[in-house]
Symmetry: C2
Subunit: 251 residues, 2 copies
Protein backbone atom coordinates (compact mmCIF):
# COMPACT_ATOMS: atom_id res chain seq x y z
CA UNK A 1 0.00 0.00 0.00
CA UNK A 2 2.17 2.83 -1.26
CA UNK A 3 0.81 6.32 -1.62
CA UNK A 4 1.85 8.97 -4.07
CA UNK A 5 1.93 12.72 -3.75
CA UNK A 6 1.59 14.97 -6.78
CA UNK A 7 2.37 18.65 -6.28
CA UNK A 8 0.57 20.19 -9.21
CA UNK A 9 0.87 23.63 -10.81
CA UNK A 10 -2.48 24.60 -12.34
CA UNK A 11 -1.17 27.52 -14.38
CA UNK A 12 -2.66 31.00 -14.35
CA UNK A 13 -6.35 30.09 -14.17
CA UNK A 14 -7.55 29.22 -17.65
CA UNK A 15 -8.43 25.59 -18.29
CA UNK A 16 -6.70 25.64 -21.68
CA UNK A 17 -3.39 26.33 -19.94
CA UNK A 18 -3.34 23.15 -17.88
CA UNK A 19 -0.91 20.49 -19.05
CA UNK A 20 -2.03 16.95 -19.78
CA UNK A 21 0.20 15.79 -16.95
CA UNK A 22 -1.59 18.02 -14.44
CA UNK A 23 -4.98 16.74 -15.60
CA UNK A 24 -3.83 13.13 -15.32
CA UNK A 25 -2.63 13.71 -11.75
CA UNK A 26 -5.98 15.23 -10.75
CA UNK A 27 -7.76 12.22 -12.26
CA UNK A 28 -5.49 9.70 -10.52
CA UNK A 29 -5.89 11.24 -7.06
CA UNK A 30 -7.85 9.88 -4.13
CA UNK A 31 -7.80 13.28 -2.46
CA UNK A 32 -7.29 16.86 -3.66
CA UNK A 33 -5.80 19.35 -1.18
CA UNK A 34 -5.62 23.09 -1.81
CA UNK A 35 -6.74 26.60 -1.12
CA UNK A 36 -10.53 26.83 -1.27
CA UNK A 37 -10.56 28.93 -4.45
CA UNK A 38 -8.39 26.48 -6.38
CA UNK A 39 -10.36 23.44 -5.20
CA UNK A 40 -13.50 25.11 -6.56
CA UNK A 41 -11.69 25.89 -9.79
CA UNK A 42 -10.70 22.25 -10.45
CA UNK A 43 -14.22 20.90 -9.69
CA UNK A 44 -15.13 20.51 -13.41
CA UNK A 45 -12.09 18.24 -13.81
CA UNK A 46 -12.88 15.89 -10.92
CA UNK A 47 -15.02 12.82 -10.39
CA UNK A 48 -15.54 11.46 -6.89
CA UNK A 49 -12.17 12.48 -5.42
CA UNK A 50 -12.25 13.65 -1.82
CA UNK A 51 -11.69 17.43 -1.51
CA UNK A 52 -9.87 19.14 1.34
CA UNK A 53 -10.19 22.89 0.89
CA UNK A 54 -8.32 25.17 3.31
CA UNK A 55 -8.16 28.97 3.60
CA UNK A 56 -5.43 31.01 1.93
CA UNK A 57 -3.06 31.40 4.89
CA UNK A 58 -2.88 27.74 5.91
CA UNK A 59 -0.09 26.57 3.60
CA UNK A 60 1.79 24.63 6.28
CA UNK A 61 -1.41 22.92 7.39
CA UNK A 62 -2.09 21.89 3.80
CA UNK A 63 1.42 20.46 3.46
CA UNK A 64 1.04 18.52 6.74
CA UNK A 65 -2.29 17.08 5.68
CA UNK A 66 -0.85 16.02 2.35
CA UNK A 67 2.09 14.21 3.95
CA UNK A 68 -0.20 12.52 6.50
CA UNK A 69 -2.41 11.19 3.71
CA UNK A 70 0.66 10.08 1.76
CA UNK A 71 1.90 8.17 4.80
CA UNK A 72 -1.52 6.49 5.01
CA UNK A 73 -1.09 5.25 1.45
CA UNK A 74 -3.35 7.63 -0.45
CA UNK A 75 -2.75 9.14 -3.86
CA UNK A 76 -2.72 12.84 -2.99
CA UNK A 77 -2.82 15.88 -5.25
CA UNK A 78 -1.76 19.21 -3.74
CA UNK A 79 -2.74 22.02 -6.08
CA UNK A 80 -1.18 25.47 -6.51
CA UNK A 81 -1.88 28.18 -9.04
CA UNK A 82 0.94 28.89 -11.48
CA UNK A 83 3.94 26.60 -10.99
CA UNK A 84 3.93 24.74 -7.66
CA UNK A 85 7.74 24.83 -7.57
CA UNK A 86 8.14 28.59 -8.01
CA UNK A 87 7.31 30.25 -4.68
CA UNK A 88 4.67 27.52 -4.43
CA UNK A 89 3.73 24.62 -2.19
CA UNK A 90 6.52 22.28 -3.34
CA UNK A 91 9.30 23.48 -1.03
CA UNK A 92 6.95 23.39 1.95
CA UNK A 93 5.97 19.79 1.15
CA UNK A 94 9.62 18.71 1.10
CA UNK A 95 10.27 20.51 4.39
CA UNK A 96 7.38 18.68 6.04
CA UNK A 97 8.59 15.36 4.58
CA UNK A 98 12.03 16.04 6.10
CA UNK A 99 10.47 16.82 9.49
CA UNK A 100 8.66 13.47 9.34
CA UNK A 101 11.90 11.68 8.48
CA UNK A 102 10.05 10.38 5.44
CA UNK A 103 13.11 10.08 3.17
CA UNK A 104 11.98 6.67 1.95
CA UNK A 105 8.90 8.28 0.41
CA UNK A 106 10.75 10.88 -1.67
CA UNK A 107 10.51 8.80 -4.82
CA UNK A 108 6.73 8.81 -4.40
CA UNK A 109 6.59 12.61 -4.61
CA UNK A 110 6.26 14.15 -8.07
CA UNK A 111 6.29 17.88 -8.78
CA UNK A 112 4.30 18.67 -11.92
CA UNK A 113 5.36 22.02 -13.35
CA UNK A 114 2.82 24.56 -14.56
CA UNK A 115 2.69 27.84 -16.44
CA UNK A 116 3.83 30.28 -13.74
CA UNK A 117 2.77 33.91 -13.40
CA UNK A 118 6.17 34.73 -14.86
CA UNK A 119 5.60 32.81 -18.10
CA UNK A 120 1.97 33.95 -18.33
CA UNK A 121 2.55 37.67 -17.82
CA UNK A 122 5.55 37.73 -20.12
CA UNK A 123 3.47 36.16 -22.91
CA UNK A 124 0.71 38.74 -22.47
CA UNK A 125 3.23 41.61 -22.64
CA UNK A 126 4.96 40.38 -25.81
CA UNK A 127 8.49 39.20 -25.15
CA UNK A 128 10.00 41.01 -22.15
CA UNK A 129 11.98 37.92 -21.03
CA UNK A 130 14.04 37.47 -24.18
CA UNK A 131 17.22 37.74 -22.13
CA UNK A 132 18.60 37.21 -18.59
CA UNK A 133 16.16 38.05 -15.82
CA UNK A 134 15.75 38.07 -12.05
CA UNK A 135 12.60 37.29 -10.07
CA UNK A 136 12.04 39.05 -6.75
CA UNK A 137 9.08 38.83 -4.38
CA UNK A 138 8.44 42.11 -2.56
CA UNK A 139 6.85 40.26 0.36
CA UNK A 140 8.94 40.77 3.50
CA UNK A 141 6.89 38.42 5.67
CA UNK A 142 9.57 35.71 5.56
CA UNK A 143 12.50 37.67 4.11
CA UNK A 144 14.19 40.71 5.71
CA UNK A 145 13.47 43.85 3.68
CA UNK A 146 17.18 44.80 3.56
CA UNK A 147 17.85 41.60 1.64
CA UNK A 148 15.07 42.35 -0.85
CA UNK A 149 16.49 45.86 -1.38
CA UNK A 150 19.93 44.41 -2.00
CA UNK A 151 18.47 42.10 -4.61
CA UNK A 152 16.61 44.92 -6.36
CA UNK A 153 19.78 47.00 -6.56
CA UNK A 154 21.94 44.06 -7.66
CA UNK A 155 19.52 43.02 -10.39
CA UNK A 156 19.22 46.57 -11.73
CA UNK A 157 22.97 47.25 -11.59
CA UNK A 158 23.71 44.04 -13.51
CA UNK A 159 21.08 44.92 -16.16
CA UNK A 160 18.74 42.01 -15.52
CA UNK A 161 15.15 42.30 -16.67
CA UNK A 162 13.42 42.22 -13.27
CA UNK A 163 10.14 40.50 -12.42
CA UNK A 164 8.45 41.77 -9.25
CA UNK A 165 5.97 39.42 -7.57
CA UNK A 166 3.60 40.25 -4.67
CA UNK A 167 4.16 43.99 -5.12
CA UNK A 168 1.52 45.03 -2.55
CA UNK A 169 -0.95 43.40 -0.20
CA UNK A 170 -3.65 44.60 2.17
CA UNK A 171 -0.97 44.88 4.86
CA UNK A 172 2.10 45.86 2.82
CA UNK A 173 1.87 49.32 1.29
CA UNK A 174 5.29 51.01 1.03
CA UNK A 175 7.49 48.26 -0.46
CA UNK A 176 6.44 48.83 -4.07
CA UNK A 177 7.21 52.57 -3.95
CA UNK A 178 10.60 51.82 -2.36
CA UNK A 179 11.32 49.29 -5.12
CA UNK A 180 10.51 51.92 -7.71
CA UNK A 181 12.99 54.34 -6.05
CA UNK A 182 15.77 51.75 -6.23
CA UNK A 183 15.01 50.90 -9.87
CA UNK A 184 14.56 54.54 -10.95
CA UNK A 185 18.05 55.38 -9.66
CA UNK A 186 19.50 52.71 -11.95
CA UNK A 187 17.39 52.80 -15.13
CA UNK A 188 16.65 55.40 -17.79
CA UNK A 189 13.24 56.93 -16.79
CA UNK A 190 11.63 55.76 -20.04
CA UNK A 191 12.55 52.09 -19.46
CA UNK A 192 9.39 50.07 -20.23
CA UNK A 193 7.56 48.44 -17.34
CA UNK A 194 4.79 45.91 -17.95
CA UNK A 195 2.02 45.46 -15.41
CA UNK A 196 -0.33 42.48 -15.62
CA UNK A 197 -3.16 41.83 -13.21
CA UNK A 198 -5.23 38.64 -13.20
CA UNK A 199 -3.43 37.08 -16.17
CA UNK A 200 -5.70 34.84 -18.27
CA UNK A 201 -8.66 35.44 -15.97
CA UNK A 202 -11.86 37.29 -16.86
CA UNK A 203 -10.72 40.47 -15.06
CA UNK A 204 -7.35 40.50 -16.85
CA UNK A 205 -5.71 43.96 -17.14
CA UNK A 206 -2.49 44.72 -19.02
CA UNK A 207 -0.62 48.02 -19.04
CA UNK A 208 2.77 49.18 -20.21
CA UNK A 209 4.25 52.18 -18.44
CA UNK A 210 7.76 53.38 -17.54
CA UNK A 211 10.10 53.19 -14.58
CA UNK A 212 9.34 56.88 -13.94
CA UNK A 213 5.56 56.29 -13.83
CA UNK A 214 5.28 52.74 -12.50
CA UNK A 215 4.40 54.00 -9.01
CA UNK A 216 1.06 55.31 -10.26
CA UNK A 217 -0.13 51.86 -11.35
CA UNK A 218 -2.66 49.94 -9.27
CA UNK A 219 -0.88 46.80 -8.08
CA UNK A 220 -1.78 44.04 -5.61
CA UNK A 221 -1.07 40.39 -4.81
CA UNK A 222 -2.55 39.33 -8.16
CA UNK A 223 -0.28 41.68 -10.11
CA UNK A 224 3.06 40.87 -11.74
CA UNK A 225 5.38 43.73 -12.71
CA UNK A 226 8.15 43.28 -15.30
CA UNK A 227 10.82 45.99 -15.46
CA UNK A 228 12.88 46.07 -18.65
CA UNK A 229 16.67 46.06 -18.92
CA UNK A 230 18.71 48.65 -20.85
CA UNK A 231 17.79 47.01 -24.17
CA UNK A 232 14.04 46.52 -23.63
CA UNK A 233 11.88 48.57 -25.95
CA UNK A 234 8.21 49.33 -26.09
CA UNK A 235 6.67 48.50 -29.44
CA UNK A 236 3.10 49.84 -29.38
CA UNK A 237 1.15 47.45 -27.13
CA UNK A 238 4.17 45.18 -26.59
CA UNK A 239 7.34 45.09 -24.55
CA UNK A 240 10.31 43.35 -26.14
CA UNK A 241 13.77 42.49 -24.81
CA UNK A 242 16.11 41.41 -27.61
CA UNK A 243 18.08 38.19 -27.21
CA UNK A 244 21.37 40.03 -26.98
CA UNK A 245 23.19 43.32 -27.27
CA UNK A 246 23.78 45.06 -30.57
CA UNK A 247 27.34 44.87 -31.80
CA UNK A 248 28.05 48.55 -31.14
CA UNK A 249 26.94 48.09 -27.56
CA UNK A 250 28.70 44.78 -27.17
CA UNK A 251 32.26 46.07 -27.60
Amino acid sequence: MTGRLFVVGLGPGDYTMLTGQAQAALQAADVIIGYTGYVTWVEPLLDSQERLALPLTQETERARLAVERLLQGAVVCVISSGDAGIYGMASLIFEVLAQHGAEALLSNVVVIPGISAINACAALLGAPLGHDFAVISLSDLLTPWERIERRLAAAADADFVTVLLNPKSARRHWQYARAQDILAQRRVPTTPVGIVRNAYRPEQAIAITTVAAMGEAQVDMLTTVIVGNSQTRRFQTCMVTPRGYTLAEAR
Copy 2:
Protein backbone atom coordinates in the same frame (compact mmCIF):
# COMPACT_ATOMS: atom_id res chain seq x y z
CA MET B 1 -8.32 38.26 -45.10
CA THR B 2 -6.53 38.71 -41.80
CA GLY B 3 -3.80 36.33 -40.74
CA ARG B 4 -2.79 35.34 -37.26
CA LEU B 5 0.56 34.42 -35.81
CA PHE B 6 0.85 32.12 -32.80
CA VAL B 7 4.26 31.88 -31.15
CA VAL B 8 3.96 28.61 -29.30
CA GLY B 9 6.04 27.13 -26.49
CA LEU B 10 5.95 23.34 -26.74
CA GLY B 11 7.37 22.67 -23.28
CA PRO B 12 10.29 20.35 -22.56
CA GLY B 13 9.52 17.59 -25.05
CA ASP B 14 6.88 15.33 -23.52
CA TYR B 15 3.44 15.40 -25.12
CA THR B 16 1.75 15.38 -21.70
CA MET B 17 3.36 18.73 -20.92
CA LEU B 18 1.77 20.62 -23.77
CA THR B 19 -1.03 22.99 -22.79
CA GLY B 20 -4.47 22.80 -24.39
CA GLN B 21 -3.89 26.27 -25.79
CA ALA B 22 -0.71 25.17 -27.59
CA GLN B 23 -2.51 22.18 -29.10
CA ALA B 24 -5.41 24.37 -30.26
CA ALA B 25 -2.98 26.76 -31.98
CA LEU B 26 -1.27 23.90 -33.81
CA GLN B 27 -4.67 22.64 -34.97
CA ALA B 28 -5.81 26.09 -36.12
CA ALA B 29 -2.70 26.79 -38.18
CA ASP B 30 -2.37 26.82 -41.96
CA VAL B 31 1.39 26.56 -41.66
CA ILE B 32 3.82 25.38 -38.96
CA ILE B 33 7.29 26.97 -38.89
CA GLY B 34 10.12 25.71 -36.72
CA TYR B 35 13.44 24.01 -36.29
CA THR B 36 13.43 20.65 -38.08
CA GLY B 37 13.54 18.62 -34.86
CA TYR B 38 10.49 20.36 -33.39
CA VAL B 39 8.48 20.11 -36.62
CA THR B 40 9.09 16.35 -36.56
CA TRP B 41 8.09 16.24 -32.90
CA VAL B 42 4.69 17.89 -33.48
CA GLU B 43 3.85 15.64 -36.48
CA PRO B 44 1.52 13.39 -34.43
CA LEU B 45 -0.53 16.48 -33.50
CA LEU B 46 -1.01 17.77 -37.06
CA ASP B 47 -3.40 17.13 -39.91
CA SER B 48 -2.73 18.63 -43.32
CA GLN B 49 -0.99 21.82 -42.16
CA GLU B 50 1.91 22.96 -44.32
CA ARG B 51 5.28 22.42 -42.59
CA LEU B 52 8.31 24.70 -42.97
CA ALA B 53 11.24 23.08 -41.19
CA LEU B 54 14.52 25.03 -40.97
CA PRO B 55 17.89 24.14 -39.45
CA LEU B 56 18.82 25.11 -35.88
CA THR B 57 20.78 28.28 -36.62
CA GLN B 58 18.23 29.99 -38.88
CA GLU B 59 16.11 31.71 -36.20
CA THR B 60 15.96 35.04 -38.01
CA GLU B 61 14.99 33.34 -41.26
CA ARG B 62 12.18 31.51 -39.45
CA ALA B 63 10.91 34.77 -37.96
CA ARG B 64 10.99 36.46 -41.40
CA LEU B 65 9.10 33.61 -43.03
CA ALA B 66 6.49 33.72 -40.28
CA VAL B 67 5.90 37.46 -40.70
CA GLU B 68 5.75 37.12 -44.50
CA ARG B 69 3.08 34.45 -44.22
CA LEU B 70 1.18 36.52 -41.65
CA LEU B 71 1.23 39.49 -44.05
CA GLN B 72 -0.19 37.19 -46.74
CA GLY B 73 -3.13 36.39 -44.45
CA ALA B 74 -2.19 32.92 -43.24
CA VAL B 75 -2.68 31.48 -39.76
CA VAL B 76 0.91 30.77 -38.78
CA CYS B 77 2.29 28.78 -35.87
CA VAL B 78 5.94 29.32 -34.95
CA ILE B 79 7.06 26.62 -32.55
CA SER B 80 9.79 26.71 -29.90
CA SER B 81 10.74 24.20 -27.25
CA GLY B 82 10.13 25.31 -23.67
CA ASP B 83 8.54 28.76 -23.45
CA ALA B 84 8.73 30.77 -26.68
CA GLY B 85 8.99 34.00 -24.67
CA ILE B 86 11.95 33.01 -22.51
CA TYR B 87 15.09 33.26 -24.66
CA GLY B 88 12.83 31.96 -27.42
CA MET B 89 11.52 33.00 -30.81
CA ALA B 90 9.02 35.58 -29.51
CA SER B 91 11.36 38.57 -29.21
CA LEU B 92 12.79 37.90 -32.66
CA ILE B 93 9.27 37.82 -34.16
CA PHE B 94 8.45 41.23 -32.67
CA GLU B 95 11.73 42.67 -33.94
CA VAL B 96 10.96 41.49 -37.47
CA LEU B 97 7.42 42.89 -37.20
CA ALA B 98 8.90 46.25 -36.19
CA GLN B 99 11.31 46.16 -39.15
CA HIS B 100 8.34 45.58 -41.45
CA GLY B 101 6.47 48.49 -39.84
CA ALA B 102 3.69 46.00 -39.20
CA GLU B 103 2.33 47.70 -36.06
CA ALA B 104 -1.25 47.25 -37.26
CA LEU B 105 -0.78 43.48 -37.09
CA LEU B 106 0.38 43.35 -33.46
CA SER B 107 -3.06 42.41 -32.20
CA ASN B 108 -2.96 39.38 -34.51
CA VAL B 109 0.14 38.02 -32.76
CA VAL B 110 -0.38 35.77 -29.75
CA VAL B 111 2.41 34.35 -27.60
CA ILE B 112 1.34 31.06 -26.02
CA PRO B 113 3.46 30.33 -22.96
CA GLY B 114 4.91 26.87 -22.32
CA ILE B 115 6.69 24.94 -19.59
CA SER B 116 10.22 26.34 -19.89
CA ALA B 117 13.44 24.49 -19.12
CA ILE B 118 13.48 26.49 -15.89
CA ASN B 119 10.10 25.17 -14.66
CA ALA B 120 10.84 21.65 -15.93
CA CYS B 121 14.29 21.24 -14.39
CA ALA B 122 13.21 22.77 -11.10
CA ALA B 123 10.33 20.27 -10.84
CA LEU B 124 12.67 17.34 -11.51
CA LEU B 125 15.09 18.52 -8.80
CA GLY B 126 12.42 18.98 -6.11
CA ALA B 127 11.89 22.63 -5.22
CA PRO B 128 15.06 24.66 -5.83
CA LEU B 129 13.09 27.76 -6.93
CA GLY B 130 11.11 28.27 -3.74
CA HIS B 131 12.52 31.79 -3.44
CA ASP B 132 13.99 34.65 -5.51
CA PHE B 133 16.09 33.53 -8.46
CA ALA B 134 18.09 34.81 -11.41
CA VAL B 135 18.39 33.24 -14.86
CA ILE B 136 21.62 33.68 -16.81
CA SER B 137 22.58 32.28 -20.20
CA LEU B 138 26.31 31.53 -20.44
CA SER B 139 26.25 32.00 -24.21
CA ASP B 140 28.41 34.98 -25.16
CA LEU B 141 27.51 34.91 -28.86
CA LEU B 142 25.23 37.97 -28.53
CA THR B 143 26.22 39.22 -25.07
CA PRO B 144 29.68 40.42 -24.02
CA TRP B 145 31.26 37.98 -21.57
CA GLU B 146 32.10 40.79 -19.10
CA ARG B 147 28.40 41.49 -18.72
CA ILE B 148 27.64 37.82 -18.07
CA GLU B 149 30.39 37.74 -15.41
CA ARG B 150 28.94 40.81 -13.75
CA ARG B 151 25.54 39.14 -13.63
CA LEU B 152 26.94 35.95 -12.13
CA ALA B 153 28.71 37.92 -9.39
CA ALA B 154 25.70 40.17 -8.72
CA ALA B 155 23.28 37.23 -8.48
CA ALA B 156 25.58 35.32 -6.12
CA ASP B 157 26.34 38.36 -3.93
CA ALA B 158 22.62 39.13 -3.55
CA ASP B 159 21.90 35.47 -2.61
CA PHE B 160 19.70 34.65 -5.60
CA VAL B 161 19.22 31.01 -6.54
CA THR B 162 20.89 31.06 -9.96
CA VAL B 163 19.78 29.16 -13.06
CA LEU B 164 22.50 28.73 -15.72
CA LEU B 165 21.32 28.07 -19.27
CA ASN B 166 23.46 27.07 -22.28
CA PRO B 167 26.42 26.21 -20.02
CA LYS B 168 28.58 24.78 -22.83
CA SER B 169 28.37 24.19 -26.55
CA ALA B 170 30.55 22.57 -29.19
CA ARG B 171 32.28 25.94 -29.62
CA ARG B 172 32.13 27.35 -26.08
CA HIS B 173 34.26 25.45 -23.58
CA TRP B 174 35.66 27.71 -20.86
CA GLN B 175 32.61 29.78 -19.79
CA TYR B 176 31.14 27.15 -17.47
CA ALA B 177 34.40 26.72 -15.52
CA ARG B 178 34.72 30.49 -15.21
CA ALA B 179 31.13 30.69 -13.92
CA GLN B 180 31.97 28.07 -11.31
CA ASP B 181 34.97 30.16 -10.17
CA ILE B 182 32.77 33.22 -9.68
CA LEU B 183 30.11 31.25 -7.81
CA ALA B 184 32.61 29.30 -5.68
CA GLN B 185 34.11 32.56 -4.41
CA ARG B 186 30.69 33.59 -3.12
CA ARG B 187 29.01 30.40 -1.90
CA VAL B 188 29.79 27.82 0.78
CA PRO B 189 31.51 24.92 -1.08
CA THR B 190 28.76 22.47 -0.08
CA THR B 191 25.96 24.63 -1.61
CA PRO B 192 23.74 22.23 -3.60
CA VAL B 193 23.84 22.43 -7.39
CA GLY B 194 21.29 20.58 -9.51
CA ILE B 195 22.15 19.48 -13.03
CA VAL B 196 19.45 18.29 -15.41
CA ARG B 197 20.08 17.13 -18.95
CA ASN B 198 17.30 16.36 -21.45
CA ALA B 199 14.48 17.07 -19.00
CA TYR B 200 11.39 14.91 -19.66
CA ARG B 201 13.02 13.21 -22.63
CA PRO B 202 14.01 9.55 -22.88
CA GLU B 203 17.69 10.35 -22.18
CA GLN B 204 16.88 12.43 -19.10
CA ALA B 205 19.73 12.62 -16.52
CA ILE B 206 19.46 14.31 -13.11
CA ALA B 207 22.32 14.88 -10.67
CA ILE B 208 22.78 16.91 -7.52
CA THR B 209 26.31 18.01 -6.73
CA THR B 210 27.93 21.01 -4.99
CA VAL B 211 29.40 24.35 -5.99
CA ALA B 212 32.84 22.85 -5.25
CA ALA B 213 32.28 19.88 -7.58
CA MET B 214 29.97 21.29 -10.26
CA GLY B 215 32.85 21.71 -12.70
CA GLU B 216 33.21 17.93 -13.00
CA ALA B 217 29.66 17.50 -14.33
CA GLN B 218 29.06 16.83 -18.02
CA VAL B 219 27.09 19.80 -19.32
CA ASP B 220 26.02 20.95 -22.78
CA MET B 221 23.36 23.02 -24.58
CA LEU B 222 20.65 20.62 -23.40
CA THR B 223 21.67 21.00 -19.74
CA THR B 224 20.24 23.36 -17.14
CA VAL B 225 22.23 24.03 -13.97
CA ILE B 226 20.56 25.39 -10.81
CA VAL B 227 22.86 26.75 -8.10
CA GLY B 228 21.29 27.08 -4.64
CA ASN B 229 21.26 30.18 -2.44
CA SER B 230 22.51 30.29 1.17
CA GLN B 231 19.33 28.57 2.38
CA THR B 232 19.09 25.77 -0.21
CA ARG B 233 19.50 22.30 1.21
CA ARG B 234 19.96 18.89 -0.28
CA PHE B 235 17.43 16.39 0.98
CA GLN B 236 18.49 12.98 -0.37
CA THR B 237 17.60 13.04 -4.08
CA CYS B 238 16.05 16.53 -3.87
CA MET B 239 17.18 20.13 -3.70
CA VAL B 240 14.94 22.47 -1.73
CA THR B 241 15.02 26.25 -1.25
CA PRO B 242 12.71 27.36 1.56
CA ARG B 243 10.25 30.16 0.91
CA GLY B 244 12.02 32.50 3.29
CA TYR B 245 14.70 32.91 5.90
CA THR B 246 14.45 31.45 9.39
CA LEU B 247 13.73 34.01 12.07
CA ALA B 248 17.22 33.75 13.59
CA GLU B 249 18.71 34.50 10.19
CA ALA B 250 16.21 37.20 9.39
CA ARG B 251 17.17 39.59 12.21
